[in-house]
């Protein structure tokens, strides 16, 4: 009886070490996860709740994570699923009936027009305040914003984003394209007013 018990003890100790390692790695990534989470929901409070739910779930189901794969993507997969489960579709974001979409260079042209002369790019950007970017992001409808936030703020690849949101890569690309146009349209409104 003593042999199996020792083996068991070793196995348990090894598993505990793996779990600790997993938890530490997950916590090390929490700043980066938060940065994305913050813009997937409407407020800082919601983002904080969602982070806690995500980490509670992650720590419970750590065994289903495959070591050596992308832990940050795994955590965001949990987070986006929880966010959808929370019935975010009923939340905030005035879902405009028609989405303003403009050609790719709309924002650039609009700013140039407002200035009445050709612009250098850095100056154009200076015209946009930090708050206006955050507001504009919040006005991009959910499905498009998720993709934009994961790719542009989270710096995930199209493939990782597709996996996180469980949508085809072609959908990631088309939503991203539209999301950027919508965002730029929102920013152009700001500049024009």
């Amino acid at each position: 009886m003593s042999e199996p018990t020792q083996t068991d003890a070793r196995r348990i100790a090894e598993e505990a070490r793996e779990r600790v390692r997993f938890e530490e790695e997950a916590l090390d990534l929490s700043d980066q996860v938060f940065r994305v989470a913050r813009h997937l929901v409407g407020s800082r409070e919601e983002a904080e709740d969602l982070m806690q739910e995500t980490y509670a779930r992650a720590f419970r189901s750590w065994r289903s994570f495959t070591p050596g794969t992308n832990l940050r993507a795994w955590l965001l997969r949990i987070l986006t699923n929880l966010n959808i489960d929370r019935g975010r579709r009923q939340q905030r974001t005035p879902q405009t009936t028609s989405i303003d979409e403009h050609p790719d260079y709309y924002l650039y042209n609009k700013i140039e027009e407002a200035e009445g002369r050709p612009l250098d790019e850095e100056r154009v950007i200076e015209k946009l305040s930090q708050g206006s970017i955050v507001d504009a992001l919040a006005h991009v409808p959910h499905d498009f914003r998720d993709v934009l936030v994961l790719v542009d703020i989270g710096e995930f690849s199209y493939a990782d984003t597709a996996q996180i949101l469980d949508i085809p890569i072609g959908t990631v690309m088309s939503r991203l394209h539209r999301a950027r146009r919508i965002l730029k349209g929102e920013l152009a409104e700001e500049v024009a007013t």
């Binding site: 929490s30 940065r35 913050r38 813009h39 982070m51 612009l119 955050v134 936030v149």
Partner: protein
């Protein structure tokens, strides 16, 4: 332009895009604008995680037996 910015083109397409950008100041200035805008969105949107939240997340860890 977008696939070039997202680095999703293959080598041949990248060369074509770069050759075009080299010769077209209209696209080049808009390209630089897009690059700056993306960088700006990333920085403007960066919000620090509150320290209290980090502590709360740590508290969710499995207690050691």
């Amino acid at each position: 332009m977008q696939p070039y910015l997202d680095r999703t083109l293959d080598d041949t397409q990248v060369r074509e895009a770069e050759a075009h950008l080299d010769g077209c100041s209209y696209c080049r200035s808009r390209y630089r604008f897009e690059v700056s805008l993306r960088r700006y969105v990333r920085t403007a949107a960066a919000e620090q995680m509150p320290v209290e939240l980090k502590a709360k997340l740590s508290a969710l860890r499995t207690p050691l037996q």
